[in-house]
C-alpha cells in the first residue's frame, strides 16, 4: 500500500524529481567514468610508458571523488529540500487523513529509494558507455596509442560510486525525515506560497546595494592588479590579499543582491521599454525571486570563477611544459653531481648518525670538480643480483661535455659576490614575481668559466663566445620575467665588480637556448654567470654543481641506450682522490623520459582540471535549474492569469526565457570577469616558467563546459515551458 503510494508520488511529482534524478544520474555517470581511470590508463597504453601512472592517477581521482561527493551531496540535499518544501502541505494532508508519522516517513524513504535506485542504474549504464569512450580521450590527453581496446567494467570504480551514492542517499534521507517530522497539520492551513517572498525590496535601496557591490568588485580588481598574488607569504601581503578576497566576495554578494532592483530602476527609467509587452512582468518576476536566489547566484558566480581559473591555470601550466620541453631537452641524457659545501661537510662529519662515527665515512668540500664520466663507473647496474656489473656510461656515450659550475660565495666568505637582487637593483627593476622570497639576498648565481662554456657551446654545435679579460655574460633558461632582468643587465652594460675585477657584458641579451644544462620539462637554470678563466681562478670559488651532457653513440633517442639508462642501478657516493665523499648524484634524465613525463604531467593536470571543473559546473547549473523550475511553478498562477488576459503562450515563454537567461548568464559573466582579472595576475607567475598559452585544450574544455551549462539552460527552459503550459491549461474555476 505504502509502496504504491510512494511510487505514485514519484510519478506525480515527476517534474520535481526529474531534475533531481537528472543531476544524480549525471553525478553517478561522472563518478564512475572518472574512477575507472586506472583501467583506462592501462588500455590507453599510458602504463607501458609510465609504470605506476595508473595507480597514481587512480589514487588522486578517488581522493578527489570523495571531495566532490561532498559537493554533490550538498547539491542533492539542496535539490531535495526544494522538492520537500513544496510537499510539506502534502505530508500534512496525509496526517490529517489519519496516516501516522511513521507511515509518512516510510513513504518518504521509499520515494528516495526509488529515485536513488533509478539514478544508480541509469548512471552506471551511462558511466559504462562514457568510460569506454573516455579511453580514447585519455589516450589523446596522454599522447599514447591504444594498445588493445576491450570492453571493461571496473569493480573498484563501481564500489566507489555506490559508496558515494549510498552516502548521499543517507544524508538526503535524514533531511527528508526531518521535514516529515516537522510537517504539522498547521502547514495545511497556511497553504500556498507565503507572501513574504513577494515583498519586493525598495528598488532604490536595491539599486544602491548593486552600485555598492559593483564598486567593491572594481576596488578588489584594482587592488589585485596592483598588489599581485602573495607569492612570498609575507604577512602584510597575505593580509592585503585576504582583504581583497573578502572585498570581492562581499562585492559579488551585494552585486547579486541588488541586481534585480537595479534592473528594475534602470528599465523603469526607460518608460517606453518598461510599459511594453510583458517587460514589466519579466522584471517584476525577477525582482520577486531575488530574495530567495541572489545569494546562491553569488555563490555560483564564485564557484564558476574557481572552476574557470583552476582549469585555465592547470591547462596553461601543462601547455607551458609542452612548449618548453623541446628547448629544455637538448641532448639524449644528462646527469649531475651536487657538491657539498664546507659547512655541510663539517656538520655531517660531526654527526655520528650520518658519518657513522669511528671507522665511518668522511665528508669534504671538493677542491676541484670530479670527472663525472669516470665517476659514473662507480655506480652498479642490477646491484644485489647475480649479474651485478659496473655502470659503463662510456659504452653508450658518443659525444659528451661536462660543465662545472661554482658557487658565487668565495671560500671563507659569507656573502655571494652577485645575486639576482643585486642585478635587479642595478637595472632598477623589481624582483620578478615568484622570486621575492626572504632569502633572495643570500642566494647567489652560479659561475662557470668561459672556456668551459665554449666547450659546451661547441658540443651543442653552437658558435663559441669570444671572452675578453674583463668580459662576462649571463645564462638562464627560465621564462620571461627572470630573463627580462638579465636582458636589461646585459643591454645596459652593467659593470660587475667581482672581488676587484670589473667586468662588462659581451652579449646584449640572454641566449636561453644556449643555457640548458639538464634535460627537464621546464627551465632549471635560473641564473649562471660566465666569467674569464683567469677571473674564476683568482676568485677561489668552491665547486657547486657539475653537469654531464651526453649524446648517444647509437644516435638520438636510441631505445637500447635508453633502456641501458633505465635499468635498475645503485648510485654510489661521489668521492675525491682521497676517498672523501664530496657530493651526491643529482637528477638525471634522458630525452625520452622527459618527453614522456611531460605528456603524463599534461595528461594528469588536464584530467584533474576537467574532472573538477566539470563537476563544479554541473553542480552550479543544476542548482540554477532547480531554482528556476521551482520559481516557474510558483509563478504558475501568474502565467495562467496572463493567458486569461489574452497573452499568447509564445509571449509568456519569451518572458520566462528572458528571466532564465538573466539568471544563467549573470553568474557566468561575473565568474568570467573575476577569472580574467585573476588570470591576468596568475599569468605573471606562469610566465616565470615560459609564458602562458591558451592552448586548444583549454578552448576544448571551455566548449565542453559551455555545452553542459547550456544544456542545463535548455533543459530548464523546455521544462519551464511545459510547466507554464500545464499551469495555463489548468481550469480556473471549479
Amino acid at each position: 500500500m505504502l509502496f504504491k503510494l510512494a511510487w505514485g508520488n514519484v510519478r506525480r511529482a515527476g517534474r520535481d524529481y526529474l531534475v533531481y534524478l537528472l543531476t544524480l544520474t549525471l553525478a553517478v555517470t561522472v563518478f564512475y567514468a572518472f574512477n575507472t581511470i586506472s583501467v583506462q590508463v592501462d588500455i590507453a597504453g599510458v602504463g607501458a610508458q609510465n609504470p605506476g601512472m595508473g595507480e597514481t592517477l587512480g589514487g588522486i581521482i578517488s581522493g578527489l571523488t570523495v571531495f566532490l561527493a561532498f559537493v554533490m551531496g550538498f547539491l542533492m540535499v539542496y535539490a531535495n529540500n526544494f522538492i520537500m518544501k513544496r510537499r510539506k502541505k502534502e505530508f500534512g494532508l496525509y496526517q490529517v487523513l489519519g496516516m501516522s508519522r511513521g507511515q509518512v516517513a516510510r513513504v518518504m524513504t521509499l520515494e528516495t529509494v526509488f529515485v536513488s535506485l533509478a539514478a544508480l542504474v541509469l548512471g552506471v549504464a551511462l558511466g559504462l558507455v562514457l568510460s569506454q569512450l573516455m579511453v580514447f580521450f585519455t589516450a589523446s590527453l596522454f599522447k599514447t596509442q591504444i594498445s588493445n581496446f576491450r570492453f571493461f567494467i571496473s569493480p573498484s570504480a563501481l564500489f566507489m560510486t555506490v559508496g558515494c551514492l549510498v552516502a548521499i542517499f543517507l544524508v538526503t534521507l535524514v533531511f527528508n525525515l526531518r521535514v516529515v517530522a516537522r510537517a504539522r497539520v498547521i502547514d495545511l492551513m497556511s497553504a500556498g506560497r507565503q507572501n513574504e517572498t513577494i515583498k519586493a525590496r525598495n528598488p532604490w535601496v536595491s539599486a544602491a546595494i548593486f552600485v555598492l557591490g559593483l564598486a567593491a568588485i572594481i576596488v578588489a580588481y584594482v587592488r589585485l592588479l596592483h598588489d599581485g598574488l602573495p607569492y612570498d607569504g609575507q604577512p602584510e601581503a597575505m593580509q592585503a590579499f585576504l582583504i581583497t578576497t573578502l572585498i570581492v566576495v562581499v562585492g559579488t554578494i551585494l552585486f547579486f543582491f541588488g541586481l534585480s532592483g537595479f534592473l528594475l530602476k534602470a528599465l523603469q527609467g526607460a518608460r517606453g521599454l518598461y510599459w511594453r509587452g510583458l517587460n514589466m512582468v519579466t522584471i517584476r518576476q525577477l525582482a520577486a525571486k531575488v530574495n530567495t536566489v541572489s545569494f546562491s547566484m553569488a555563490i555560483i558566480a564564485m564557484i564558476l570563477f574557481l572552476a574557470i581559473t583552476s582549469v585555465t591555470t592547470g591547462m596553461s601550466l601543462a601547455s607551458v611544459m609542452n612548449s618548453t620541453v623541446e628547448r629544455g631537452t637538448p641532448v639524449d641524457y644528462t646527469t649531475s653531481v651536487m657538491y657539498y659545501s664546507q659547512a655541510i661537510a663539517d656538520e655531517w662529519n660531526a654527526d655520528p648518525t650520518i658519518s657513522g662515527g669511528e671507522g665511518g665515512v668522511t665528508f669534504a668540500a671538493p677542491t676541484e670538480p670530479v670527472d663525472l664520466m669516470a665517476m659514473s663507473a662507480n655506480q652498479t647496474l642490477n646491484a644485489d643480483t647475480p649479474d651485478a656489473q659496473p655502470f659503463d656510461l662510456a659504452s653508450i656515450a658518443g659525444s659528451y661535455v661536462q660543465v662545472d659550475a661554482y658557487d658565487s660565495t668565495p671560500r671563507g666568505a659569507s656573502k655571494p659576490l652577485v645575486t639576482l637582487k643585486d642585478l635587479c637593483d642595478a637595472v632598477d627593476m623589481p624582483l620578478p614575481a615568484g622570486t621575492e622570497s626572504s632569502d633572495v639576498d643570500s642566494l647567489g648565481l652560479q659561475v662557470i668559466s668561459a672556456s668551459n662554456y665554449n666547450d659546451y657551446l661547441a658540443f651543442r654545435g653552437m658558435e663559441t663566445l669570444d671572452m675578453p679579460a674583463d668580459g662576462y655574460t649571463l645564462l638562464s633558461d627560465m621564462g620571461e620575467t627572470v630573463n627580462r632582468v638579465y636582458d636589461a643587465v646585459l643591454k645596459q652594460g652593467v659593470e660587475l665588480d667581482l672581488g676587484g675585477f670589473k667586468l662588462h657584458p659581451v652579449q646584449d641579451h640572454v641566449n636561453a637556448d644556449a643555457s640548458v644544462f639538464v634535460n627537464s620539462m621546464m627551465g632549471m637554470n635560473s641564473g649562471t654567470l660566465v666569467v674569464p678563466d683567469a677571473v674564476l681562478a683568482a676568485l677561489d670559488l668552491p665547486p657547486y654543481t657539475s653537469y654531464l651532457l651526453v649524446n648517444y653513440a647509437a644516435g638520438a633517442n636510441d631505445p637500447e641506450s635508453d633502456a641501458y639508462i633505465a635499468a635498475p642501478r645503485r648510485y654510489n657516493d661521489v668521492i675525491d682522490a682521497a676517498g672523501n665523499i664530496v657530493g651526491g648524484w643529482g637528477a638525471e634524465a634522458t630525452r625520452s623520459t622527459t618527453y614522456e613525463s611531460v605528456n603524463s604531467m599534461n595528461g594528469l593536470i588536464s584530467y584533474l582540471a576537467i574532472y573538477i571543473g566539470f563537476v563544479l559546473v554541473v553542480a552550479c547549473a543544476a542548482i540554477l535549474t532547480i531554482q528556476q523550475l521551482s520559481g516557474v511553478s510558483d509563478a504558475g498562477k501568474n502565467y495562467r492569469i496572463l493567458s486569461e488576459l489574452g497573452t499568447s503562450t509564445r509571449q509568456i515563454s519569451h518572458s520566462v526565457l528572458s528571466q532564465q537567461t538573466i539568471f544563467f548568464i549573470f553568474p557566468v559573466v561575473v565568474g568570467i570577469a573575476h577569472s580574467v582579472v585573476a588570470l591576468s595576475v596568475i599569468v605573471d607567475l606562469i610566465e616565470l616558467f615560459g609564458g602562458l598559452t591558451i592552448a586548444g585544450m583549454v578552448s576544448f574544455t571551455a566548449l565542453i563546459f559551455l555545452i553542459s551549462y547550456g544544456g542545463y539552460f535548455c533543459v530548464t527552459y523546455l521544462m519551464s515551458k511545459g510547466i507554464v503550459r500545464d499551469a495555463i491549461r489548468a481550469r480556473h474555476a471549479a
Binding site: 520577486a288 489574452g646 503562450t649 480556473h732
Partner: protein, 287 residues
C-alpha cells in the same frame, strides 16, 4: 479587428450623480441592435466514457450592447462552466458562441488569444491579480500586452482608476490591498481595454457586504458611464439585484429569466428571491 465605436475611457463624460438604488435602465433600448453576445444551443460534457458529467445542456441566450446581465444558480449548476465557455477559456462540446457576430467556437488558438485580449474582460472570485505587480501595472497589463504606447497606457490607467475610486492604491501590491480593493483593481483591469463584454464569476463571493456593495456600484458605473456590457455570475440575490436581467440556471439548463424593467433595485431583489425560493430553496443558501 476589435475596433468598435464605444467611447474611450479617457474622454468619457463626467460622472452623473445618480442614486444607484433608484437607477432604472431599460434594457429594451438596445434590443433593436445586433446582440453583442449570441449563445446558441451550447453543450458541455466533462469526463470520458464511464464517468460523464453534462455540465451544460442546450443553453441559448443573447446579450445586447450595454446590458448588465446576471446568471444565478445553485453551486454546481454550471454557472462557471457557462461563463468559461462563453469567455473562450474552455471549449464547448457542441453549439456556437458569437461575439459581435464572430463565432468564437470556430477560432484557432492564436486568433482566440487575440480575440480574448481585445474583446473580453474578466473578473474572478479571487481577484486574479499578478502578485508581483503593483495595481497600476496590473491594470496596465492588458494594454501593454496589446502594445499600446506607454503614454497612452498610463493615461488610460489613471482615467479608469479615477472613475472606480482606486487612485490611492495604484502603487500598492495586491498583498497590501483589501479584498475589495483588489476586486476593484481587477474590475479596472477588465474595463481598461474597453472590451465588448466584461465577464465576472462570483466577483463578490469573497467580499464582506460593504465591499461587495462598493464593487457592485463599480459595475454600475462601468455599465452606465462606459456603456460596458457586463455578464455576472453570482449565487447572491443581492448582487443579482444590481443587474438588468437575471438568467437562472439549474442542472446545466436555463430554468427561467427575470427582467428588471422599470422596477427599483429593492423590488427586483424581492422578485429574484421569489424565483430562488421557487427553485426549491437551492439558491436561498446564497443569501
Amino acid at each position: 479587428m476589435g475596433k468598435h465605436s464605444a467611447p474611450n475611457p479617457q474622454v468619457a463624460a463626467p460622472v452623473a450623480p445618480t442614486a444607484p438604488a433608484t437607477f432604472a435602465h431599460a434594457g429594451g433600448a438596445a434590443a433593436a441592435q445586433q446582440p453583442v453576445l449570441d449563445v446558441r444551443h451550447i453543450e458541455k460534457v466533462y469526463g470520458s466514457r464511464n464517468n460523464v458529467t453534462r455540465a451544460l445542456a442546450d443553453v441559448s441566450f443573447t446579450v445586447m450592447r450595454g446590458e448588465f446581465v446576471g446568471i444565478m444558480g445553485a453551486s454546481g449548476s454550471g454557472k462557471s462552466t457557462l461563463l468559461n465557455c462563453v469567455s473562450t477559456i474552455d471549449a464547448v462540446t457542441s453549439g456556437n458562441v458569437l461575439v459581435n457576430g464572430a463565432d468564437v467556437t470556430a477560432m484557432k488558438s492564436a486568433k482566440l488569444t487575440r480575440f480574448r485580449r481585445e474583446q473580453l474582460g474578466f473578473i474572478f472570485q479571487d481577484s486574479n491579480l499578478l502578485d508581483t505587480l503593483t495595481a497600476r501595472e496590473n491594470i496596465a497589463l492588458p494594454l501593454t500586452i496589446s502594445r499600446v504606447p506607454a503614454r497612452e497606457v498610463l493615461m488610460r490607467v489613471e482615467a479608469v482608476a479615477q472613475r472606480l475610486s482606486i487612485k490611492e492604491v495604484l502603487d500598492k501590491y495586491p498583498y497590501q490591498m483589501s479584498g475589495g480593493q483588489q476586486q476593484r483593481v481587477a474590475a479596472a483591469r477588465a474595463l481598461v481595454t474597453d472590451p465588448a463584454i466584461i465577464m465576472a464569476d462570483e466577483p463578490t463571493g469573497a467580499l464582506d457586504s460593504k465591499n461587495a456593495r462598493l464593487l457592485l456600484e463599480c459595475f454600475e458605473t462601468m455599465n452606465r458611464d462606459y456603456q460596458a456590457t457586463v455578464l455576472m455570475v453570482t449565487h447572491d440575490s443581492f448582487a443579482a439585484s444590481y443587474t438588468h436581467r437575471v438568467l437562472f440556471i439549474r442542472d446545466g439548463r436555463i430554468f427561467t429569466e427575470l427582467r428588471r424593467g422599470t422596477s427599483t433595485r429593492q423590488e427586483f431583489f424581492e422578485r429574484i428571491m421569489e424565483v430562488v425560493a421557487m427553485m426549491g430553496g437551492e439558491g436561498s443558501d446564497a443569501l
